[in-house]
């Protein structure tokens, strides 16, 4: 009887924890002319912060116009909060071979 009570309690506690989970923040590095990692999966409401670790400036520009950073010098950062689900492809407008994807689901 007591055992079942503990399980119920644990289950309720877990549900409570999940219900109050906060929006996450993830940092992506820009290094050696690459977005690292190139693909990232997050949940709606999460924020991505890009940090430029290259000596050369880069930008973060989404292909669909959803977001656009100014030129990021070394150590500069740019953040965007993804409220909607979807797949967001982006590139660096100075070096357009540099591409990345954020999957929001």
């Amino acid at each position: 009887m007591r055992f079942i009570r503990i399980v119920e309690f644990a289950g309720a506690a877990l549900l409570l924890l999940m219900a109050s989970a906060r929006a996450e923040e993830t940092t992506l590095k820009i290094k050696d002319f690459m977005f690292m990692p190139m693909a990232t999966t997050i949940a709606p409401g999460d924020t991505i912060t890009w940090e430029n670790d290259d000596g050369e400036p880069h930008t973060v520009v989404s292909l669909d116009g959803a977001f656009r950073s100014k030129a990021l010098d070394e150590k500069d950062r740019f953040s965007h909060t993804f409220d909607q689900a979807g797949t967001f492809k982006y590139l660096c407008s100075i070096h357009p071979k540099m591409v990345g994807t954020i999957i929001v689901k």
Binding site: G55, S93, I94, P96
Partner: protein
Amino acid sequence: MSESFIPSRRGALKCMAFGSAGTLFTLSGGVLMPSALGAERPAGLPLFLQISDTHIGFNKEANPDVAGTLKTAIEQVNLMPVRPALTLHTGDITHLSKASEFDLAMQLMGGLRAGELHTVPGEHDVTDGTGEEYFARFGAPSRGKGYYSFDHHGVHFIGLNNVMHFQPAGLGAFGEEQLAWLKDDLAARSSSTPIVVFAHMPMWTIQESWGWGTGDAEVALGYLRRFGSVTILNGHIHQIVQKVEGNITFHTARSTAYPQPSAGVGNGPGPLKVPADQLPGMLGLTSVILKQHHLSVADTTLA
């Protein structure tokens, strides 16, 4: 020196081993010929200047004082025995497209005793997407498009913009509208008119994986091939690479700010840090001399 050199960077470096870093190289008829700086040149010979990649605003290890090296370059020009008739800036005037960077660049360039200044944008000048700060200052000749043409001393100059329509492969591009304008601009010109084209990205593919090229350049070259003398001046790669193809001479200039690695050497085309005493020898300017309807390109370094 009696050898004729292939007009490549390797050829230029090999030739420089015989002369000091202050040697002037004249590329004429596909042959790279050295001469001492300050050598005699007939007075009144039209001279144009190419300056490139000044990157005002850059302040990292590869060169903490890009304004200082630009000033050195300008002082060098102001001491030349023949004053250039005009100056072409082949882009990346600033490092981060900021208003303050453009203001300082224009202030410094104001000290240049070298005729009118004509510019084309580099990708560092238009990082906000629309190029607001660049076009506010330099957009008038091209009505905000970045491409335009003008005539000087019988030479037809064409400034082109290949940094605002990047191709998926990462190369620069002109776009259809600009190519149609170029075709039209050249249509009425006689083939004996000397042509100078200036644009930021190289107009031939030097290193595709680094974006060193222009995807639709072949279309532009098709319009240019009938002319007897075409000189294409580019920047972007912060080093001299040259080639001659028929009547077309291609030349990329050094930067006045910082060098970059040779094509394909290392992770990417970022700033290259070199020992402080070597830096001035890797920065410089280019003079273009008009001689009997033919244009000769000459490179100098800061030291």
